[in-house]
């Protein structure tokens, strides 16, 4: 699984970072999230899907 962020939509509320800090980092300067991994570890896929579902503007794009 791969995941990326649409930065036109990311609103910097850090929800994804709270849900899955291993995959999502937070850029304090740009006030936006960053993806830390090229491929999502299998044991974190559910958290990443949850983060995508919880993202209010729909900025997280999950690619199988």
């Amino acid at each position: 699984m791969k995941v990326r962020i649409d930065y036109s939509l990311c609103m910097g509320d850090q929800n994804c970072h709270k849900v899955c800090p291993e995959v999502f980092d937070f850029d304090e300067d740009q006030l936006q999230s960053r993806v830390r991994v090229d491929t999502v570890p299998a044991h974190l896929e559910d958290e990443v899907r949850q983060a995508a579902k919880d993202c209010a503007p729909g900025a997280i794009i999950v690619e199988a």
């Binding site: 036109s8 509320d13 006030l31 209010a56 503007p57």
Partner: protein, 193 residues
């Protein structure tokens, strides 16, 4: 829902519509009737939902509640956010002026219109990110549970006054319709709110 959650959801809808506005102007050529209707819906969303409702809620309820803490840092943040609201209102007035003349204006005027739209989008995006990272956490840190409950009730009352009965649902439908139309591959039922 608690006030922080409400504002967070509203920020999400606003970010979607900012993306729609940006996509709309990036692909604007000859303004057809259906696109003129979409533009009207976008302007109405930003003027009423964003400014009168969402910014009004913050200015009338959230900022005064947090100002009671009387700290320099909070006052400085609120002052900065109010200034953003003011600049956004000015930006909206410029856009509204252009919208009236858009169907008959030339390339240079269209270009100016697009530039004003981009400026408005950039301003609101920065503003929302600032609020999400600095303002929303303060609602939980500085207000008691009683105060948050009271604020949630006041949010509900203000919604009825500003948007009227069924008004919120109308705007949510607008967000859904325009998001799907201008980003058909991106949005599905999961992201509709």
């Amino acid at each position: 829902m608690n006030p922080k959650g409400v504002l967070r959801e509203e920020h999400g809808r606003i970010m979607k519509m900012l993306a729609v506005l940006q996509r709309f102007f990036a692909t604007l050529a000859d303004l057809k009737e259906v696109e003129a209707q979409d533009l009207g819906a976008l302007m109405e969303f930003f003027e009423i939902y964003v400014d009168r409702y969402h910014h009004g809620k913050e200015e009338q309820l959230v900022f005064p509640a947090l100002s009671r803490a009387q700290t320099t840092k909070i006052d400085s943040l609120i002052s900065s956010l109010i200034d953003d609201h003011r600049q956004a209102r000015m930006g909206m007035e410029l856009l509204k002026f252009n919208v009236v003349t858009l169907p008959s204006c030339g390339e240079a005027d269209r270009s100016e219109f697009c530039e004003r739209a981009e400026n408005y989008v950039d301003l609101l995006r920065r503003h929302i990110r600032k609020e999400n990272s600095e303002l929303l956490p303060l609602i939980e840190e500085r207000l008691s549970e009683t105060e948050r409950l009271q604020m949630a009730g006041q949010f509900h009352d203000l919604e009825k006054v500003i948007l009227g009965s069924g008004g919120l649902e109308t705007f949510l439908a607008s967000v859904h319709r325009l998001s799907l139309k201008y980003f058909p591959s991106r949005y599905d039922s999961i992201h509709f709110t």
